[in-house]
């Protein structure tokens, strides 16, 4: 294992691990809305500007 190999391995593994843990912490520490797709969210499309 060369120094360059160590560098690439550590940088690659650390980058994806830190990103994964950061996302996990953000997701688990933020409270989502009470319902993920309630009836009141359904739109008929009326009045849409499309």
């Amino acid at each position: 294992m060369t120094p360059a190999g160590w560098t690439i391995m550590i940088c690659s593994v650390a980058a994806v691990t830190i990103l994964f843990i950061w996302c996990l912490v953000r997701v688990l520490t933020h409270k989502p809305p009470p319902n993920l797709h309630g009836i009141d969210d359904i739109e008929t499309g009326a009045g849409e500007k499309d």
Binding site: W6, M9, S12, P32, L36, T44, A46
Partner: protein
């Protein structure tokens, strides 16, 4: 009971004295099912489960070591940032956006997005791709389960000759002749296939929350824990064979991660093609799965952080787990000669069984490794069924039992086709190339171009940021509008140039690849041609179903316009 949600939906409104509106709304939405995700972590794990598959543990390490890890990882991370994550965000956003209009299937979603009769036919790719891939993927999944069982029962201790493992696998899948897998003596392969097939459909029948979300909530953490256990085992092997001191943990890791001449390698277009392809297929973008899953979210739910989280989970499994386990382990026992030139199946079903059988406690670690692959595969195969179920329910108005039965029949026919035409796995390989590669490129390119140019990048960002818990950096407006489509189209052109027409840069001439030569060459392959015919029939069949679904949606759209104005305004306030 799954499939009965529409009744409870109407009942709820009836109790409020608004029966008319409720029924009208259900009709307008075009979807008889009102399924939703129960938690954000659940949907993230489901999408991550869809993305994490056999490629994370078998394909990625092989490619990285083949192309010299330094240069490959640069191209890999560049592709992740300007291709994988942007397309992922676009797909999550478009799915949720169309979901607000009541559509849950890819043809329905494109019917809502592209306000043109042809739109729904673009979307049908998002059903055909996962359904066809399921036909062969579930077979591979059953191999993983069978190999895990084989290690547990000691059946896979075949000695130290890699050819013994190669013969075992070839015999197991019936690679010697078409129909060989159905002959007496192959009952185990068929039995495992039937069991795995049934488990998939049992879970999908239970629905989005009780089936997919429930299973992924346990399977994904279990997958990561098992991978970590195997990783610790591999990294503590030291020098497994004292007579070969040059084959140890450090040289194994070095084989995987030491860079070659990275400046020269980065000039190789095939390296960029391989890196982009790996990112692209690993994240499951353009499959029709993410867009379907996201359609079950409301506009209060975040898609930016969720999309990034699912991608990050996939990358962690691929780089941090897959990159440290498979190739280093194979090198430690077999040296470079045992690893070079092994494809996904060669590494997974010939080399690794030999390696695992030589580890301490081979039964336990062999079982754990193939159980890991099985979990990675089943969380992916489950996600491949949901787009088909959503389409049959929404487009044809079928209930859950009917949609599961019909999709079960269709995939069983396709799966039988793959199992029967087993010689050299030609049918499986042909399907994987044309559907699992070409169709996905087309679908993903359509998604990113629609996001940047159809919906418009400003509106796309506005939609993405509804309920978002993090902001997409503004630079991604430029990336998603210009860089990503251009990069995708370039990669697709390179793919056609190298992988279809077969440009050989050394000989400076075209040598058509087997995928083309099998169809139109001087010595065509009958099975490859029959497979293309089968795919054509599948495309026409789903095209006809989409036409029927379109008529249904058009009628519902006309009914919607018939709603009295005062009732429409009331319904939007519900």
């Amino acid at each position: 009971m799954p499939g009965d949600e529409s009744n409870s939906f109407c009942d709820k409104f009836y109790a409020g004295g608004k029966t008319f509106l409720a029924v009208k709304q259900a009709a307008v939405s075009g979807s008889p099912t009102k399924e939703t995700w129960s938690s954000r972590l659940g949907v993230i794990l489901a999408v991550a489960g869809s993305a994490v598959g056999l490629g994370n543990f078998l394909r990625f390490p092989g490619l990285a070591s083949q192309y010299g890890s330094g240069a490959f990882m640069i191209a890999y991370f560049v592709s992740l940032v300007i291709l994988g994550i942007p397309v992922c965000w676009a797909e999550w956003t478009l799915g949720r956006y169309a979901g607000q209009k009541g559509f849950r299937s890819s043809p329905g979603i494109f019917y809502a997005l592209i306000k043109h009769p042809f739109g729904k036919y673009i979307g049908v790719l998002g059903v055909i791709i996962p359904v066809v891939i399921y036909m062969y993927y579930v077979y591979i999944e059953s191999w993983c389960a069978a190999y895990g069982w084989g290690f547990l029962t000691g059946k896979l201790n075949l000695g130290s000759d890699v050819s013994a493992y190669g013969n075992y696998w070839a015999n197991y899948v019936g690679a010697s002749a078409d129909g060989a897998a159905l002959l007496p003596g192959h009952h185990a392969a068929i039995l495992f296939l039937l069991i795995i097939f049934a488990i998939n459909f049992f879970l999908i029948y239970r629905g989005l929350v009780q089936g997919i979300e429930f299973f992924c909530k346990y399977a994904m953490p279990a997958l990561i824990v098992i991978a970590l256990i195997i990783l610790v085992r591999v990294l503590t092997l030291g020098t497994p064979d004292a007579t070969k001191p040059e084959q140890n943990v450090l040289t194994g890791l070095g084989y995987m991660w030491n860079p070659g001449d990275w400046q020269t390698q980065l000039k190789n277009p095939q390296l960029w093609l391989a890196a982009a392809g790996q990112i692209f297929f690993s994240l499951s973008v353009g499959f029709g799965v993410i867009i379907t899953y996201a359609s079950y979210l409301s506009n209060k739910n975040d898609v930016v952080l969720s999309g990034l989280s699912a991608s990050a989970a996939n990358e962690f499994c691929e780089v941090a787990l897959g990159g440290l386990i498979t190739v280093p382990a194979a090198f430690m026992f077999l040296g470079a000669a045992g690893v070079v030139g092994q494809g996904t199946f060669g590494l997974g079903f010939k080399v690794l069984p030999l390696v695992l059988s030589h580890m301490p406690m081979p039964g336990l670690f062999g079982f754990l490794f193939f159980f890991l692959l099985f979990l990675a595969a089943i969380t992916s195969s489950l996600s491949m069924l949901q787009p088909g179920i959503a389409f049959l329910e929404e487009g044809l108005g079928l209930n859950r039992k009917q949609s599961v039965s019909l999709l079960g029949l269709l995939t069983a026919i396709g799966c039988t086709f793959v199992v029967y035409f087993s010689k050299d796995l030609k049918a499986l390989d042909t399907m994987d190339f044309w559907v699992g590669t070409v169709f996905i490129f087309i679908m993903a390119t359509t998604i990113i171009i629609y996001f940047g140019w159809g919906l418009g990048i400003e509106r796309g960002f506005e939609e993405a940021h509804r309920g978002a818990e993090m902001k997409i950096p503004s630079i991604f407006k430029f990336v998603m509008k210009y860089v990503c489509p251009a990069y995708l189209l370039t990669i697709f052109a390179m793919f056609i140039w190298f992988k279809v027409f077969g440009w050989d840069p050394d000989r400076k001439k075209f040598i058509p690849t087997s995928y083309v030569a099998d169809l139109v060459g001087s010595d065509p392959n009958v099975v490859a041609r029959v497979t293309i015919l089968f795919l054509a029939i599948t495309v026409i069949f789903f095209g006809l179903l989409t036409a029927l679904a379109g008529k249904r949606w058009d009628k519902q759209s006309r009914d919607k316009k018939d709603l009295p104005a005062e009732n429409i305004s009331t319904s939007t306030k519900l």
